[in-house]
């Protein structure tokens, strides 16, 4: 019974992936803008960095050449933007089916004091076990943000603090170029659409 259920679920996933690819093909045929995200022209190489990874190893963006990367910035105590965005990534990956193996989510914290690698791993794992987080010193993270044009402003609330930070996501292609920027609030379907296009290149 359980095997039958898993088999049916897998079939549904394959069907969803096929529908996503068909949507991409029909959009292209209709001459619609290919990507839902904002596109950079010409695309530039994603600046490399070396941070502490939630996996316990070193995190370098260049290590993911060959994959399509969703690069986002945030902090694990974020109550609105980050959980929504990370859940959107997780759903989009599921929609892609087997092709999602070539999609890597990289989430870099803006809050190094609280977001140590173990905390990042636990937090990201609750969305998708393949997600990877990055942290480092204030100076390291500040340099990464500068290279990617990310803003992060610490705001004190009583004895606590929060961050106002850039909420968009970069889409980096298999060759390591920043191809597009997806503003906050887009649906998993929009991400699946764009990821499918970049994966096919």
């Amino acid at each position: 019974m359980r095997h039958k259920l898993i088999g049916q679920l897998n079939s549904l996933r394959r069907l969803a992936a096929a529908v996503a690819l068909l949507q991409v093909a029909s959009a292209a045929a209709a001459g619609a803008p290919a990507l839902k995200a904002g596109v950079f022209e010409p695309p530039r190489q994603a600046p490399d960095f070396s941070l502490a990874s939630s996996t316990g190893h070193e995190l370098k963006i260049s290590d993911y050449r060959g994959k399509v990367v969703l690069l986002a910035f945030g902090f694990t105590s974020c109550t609105e933007v980050c959980p929504t965005t990370l859940n959107t990534f997780a759903v989009a990956r599921r929609k892609l089916g087997a092709a999602a193996a070539d999609v890597q989510v990289v989430y870099i914290t803006v809050d190094p004091h609280r977001d140590v690698p173990a905390r990042l791993a636990k937090y990201l794992g609750s969305f998708d076990p393949t997600f990877v987080g990055g942290t480092g010193t204030e100076d390291q993270l500040s340099a990464v943000r500068r290279n990617y044009g990310i803003s992060a402003e610490k705001k004190t609330i009583g004895n606590d603090y929060t961050y106002a930070h850039s909420s968009f996501t970069y889409l980096i292609d298999r060759t390591g170029r920043i191809r597009a920027l997806m503003p906050y609030g887009h649906s998993p379907d929009d991400y699946a659409n764009d990821l499918a296009i970049l994966l096919k290149e």
Partner: protein, 140 residues
């Protein structure tokens, strides 16, 4: 009699303006950083290129295009742009979009995407607003 004729003419003109569907040559709303902007800012000039509120209309002008013609990287709207780089962001849903933008005093840039004008009055209002829209070079 003459007044009646004028009134009929005005009514006919408004009817045409309101009933004829709007077509635009391009759906792009373009903002450009001209060459030398960084140098001007360094010399103390206050150069405002992007307003903190941008109004777009679905199906008519719903693609935000940013171009950096300067010689240095610039934070432009929501993103960092390299010299010679452009950024083209389409919108498919009418809504209000907030972006963190350090170039503005509020730290925010708001893009309001309005639905396609569906009524004659909405079309007249859109055409008038579009006619009064200052050319981009005036804001540099």
């Amino acid at each position: 009699m003459r007044l009646l004729g004028i009134a009929a003419g005005v009514a006919a003109a408004l009817g045409c303006i309101g009933l004829v569907p709007i077509q635009t040559a391009s759906r792009d709303e373009i903002f450009e950083i001209p060459k030398g902007t960084w140098a001007r800012r360094m010399s103390g000039d206050k150069v405002e290129i992007l307003p903190d509120h941008i109004r777009l209309t679905l199906g008519l002008r719903d693609i935000l295009v940013l171009r950096n013609h300067d010689d240095v990287p610039q934070i432009f709207g929501p993103t960092l742009m390299m010299p010679g780089q452009s950024f083209r962001l389409p919108f498919e849903r009418a809504s209000e979009y907030q972006f963190a933008c350090t170039a503005h005093a509020s730290g925010q840039m708001t893009i309001v995407v309005e639905p396609n004008p569906a009524t004659p009055w909405a079309r007249i209002a859109w055409r008038v607003r579009d006619m009064l829209h200052p050319p981009r070079w005036l804001s540099r």
